[in-house]
């Protein structure tokens, strides 16, 4: 029963969404199902938030290693929650100026906005900035010329990276002009060998081919897995029967 009911719900909702794609009359059904999911996900945040608080409270009370971080997490959580709910620093809306709480909690200059703008965004940007260093370290390993495939990869990466910079354009322009004047070839015929054009060819042709092959495989995989889930062939995501 514990698995059958969710399975029936999943199958019904799944087929409704498929049908709404083909039958205009059912279009609104599909949209309604999506709205139900949004409502469900919004309510579920209480579960997530509750779990977060429970976990960190336990860690602090048990004085487990790293409990200081948990304390900071809890402080940040409750401060943000209180400021967001109380609409601290938010001016009343123009429509209802007599009601103190009528302003939007995301209003510019408000406490919640301030936390997002001056605390969350810089922290998120810092994490994102780490990516630059990680790309360098991953590229260093990936492009080590240890076999033929790695050498081809390294060469391709060199052309693409160099071609995307101004240096690539400048460096490749001079030899091409020299070839053109020495051999008397037309410059237009050699244009495709300019590094900026060459990297475009690599990206738009070879890279696009590979990507499309992967995309076709993904589309078929999604269709197949969806069908297995809808038909109840794959039930591993539903948990236990007991």
């Amino acid at each position: 029963m514990k698995r059958t009911v969710p399975l029936i719900i999943a199958a019904t909702v799944g087929f409704v969404v498929i049908i709404s794609w083909f039958i205009p009359y059912a279009q609104s059904w599909g949209q309604n199902v999506m709205i139900w999911f949004d409502i469900l996900a919004a309510i579920a945040i209480v579960l997530g938030g509750g779990n977060l608080v429970k976990m960190h409270l336990r860690k602090v009370s048990d004085r487990r290693s790293g409990w200081g971080y948990s304390l900071i997490t809890l402080l940040a959580f409750f401060t943000t929650l209180a400021i967001g709910l109380s609409k601290f620093g938010v001016n009343p809306s123009e429509l209802y100026p007599d009601y103190v709480w009528s302003g939007n909690h995301l209003q510019e200059g408000g406490g919640f906005w301030w936390i997002y703008q001056y605390l969350y965004l810089p922290l998120a940007s810092t994490m994102f900035a780490l990516l630059a260093f990680f790309i360098a370290s991953a590229a260093f390993r990936a492009f080590r010329a240890k076999n033929v495939e790695a050498i081809i990869l390294l060469g391709t990466a060199f052309f693409v990276l160099f071609g995307k910079t101004y240096a690539g354009v400048i460096v490749s322009k001079a030899p091409l002009e020299w070839i053109s004047t020495t051999l008397g070839w037309q410059t237009d015929a050699l244009e495709m060998f300019r590094l900026d054009r060459f990297q475009e060819t690599i990206m738009d042709t070879f890279n696009a081919w590979g990507n499309r092959a992967i995309m076709i495989g993904i589309a078929l995989g999604v269709a197949s897995l969806s069908l297995k889930v809808l038909l109840g062939v794959d039930r591993s995501y539903l948990g236990s029967q007991e």
Binding site: F22, A41, R141, S236
Partner: protein, 413 residues
Amino acid sequence: MRIAHLSLSVMFLTFLGSFITPAHAQVPAPPADVKAKDLPNDAGHGILLTWKLSPDDKIDMSPRAVIRYEIHRKLEGEQEFNTKVGEPTYQKTSFEDKKCELGKRYFYQIVAVAPDGSRSKPRITTKATIAVMQLFDTRRTWFGIILLLVGGAVVYFIQVAQRGQDLKIRKIAGLEAFNEAVGRATEMGRSCLFIPGILDINDMQTVAGITVLSHVAGLAAEYDARLEVPTSRSLVMTTARETVQAAYLGAGRPDAYVEDNIYYLTDEQFGYVAGVTGSMVRDKPAACFYMGAFFAESLILAETGNAIGAIQVAGTAMPSQLPFFVAACDYTLIGEEFFAASAYLSGEPHQLGSLKGQDFGKVVGTGLLAIGCLFATAAACSQLAGGSELTKTLNTTVDFIKDNILGDKGFLP
């Protein structure tokens, strides 16, 4: 006498005014040939309006004589066009009114409007138009046919497998590595970390990740390894808990299941990354699994895992993140391999049958690609040879494949 003076003054000012009015303030000419018809492939709430541009609505005119068109509608029997339905800008020749009621008879009026607000004479549709509901969206006919073919093949091969026919499935190294990874974590006395992506449970990649989690949890229960699953969505957390609990139960170790090892961090992308990487650096898990939808965080997670020396297996259907996982992980499940994982790992014949169904889809796709390439090449060669009736036929075939079979122009051209 005074009245005569006043009249003369008014006439003089009116005369003077006619000279100082700028040219673009003149009343624009109305649009022509206004037609309305039912909007195709909808649920009966749309009417498509078309017209010919006002002669004053010229593409390179500056300043513009027409700045927009105003469209009003009325129901049959009403006197005035009271309902404004839209204001398309200059140079537009069509408008879709999607707020009609099914079966009602509408008339439309359209006027061209100048920048100073002066309006042209109205043009009205000559007969009433009714919005009709279509039973089937014909633009998606070919998509439906291909879906039926692939879906039918999946169901057929599942039944074939259930009858006991042996199906050959190639080995997928990434999936074979699961045992090795969990075994290594057990030997080292460290934990396994499973990350089911950062999207919610309504994303198919998350569902695929959860099915893989079921297998990893079964192995962890069997080997008595600690499994941690930080999630970035509350619903994923609850689903993952159910799945892991079922896997522990299936392995005969329900007592080893610890609910708190599957926990929620935050919905925010980089907040989640900070939490997970922090825990990775502190706890140093011996095996990391990244199975689901990932974005910019993929490389941060995988490189951190690499730095702590964990054995890493990743699987995603995000093509832009695949190179990062390939560079930083020991094994990567690329696209369809990831979706095939649950069937492959379960080893159940009826699940393996679905993989054969996928192969049939590939045959259809490859066939269409080959035919399209063949016809397009032949058309280009024929064009070079001077062009003929054959070139036209070949081009029509290529267009049919592009626009009808793979596009949204309906069953037939």
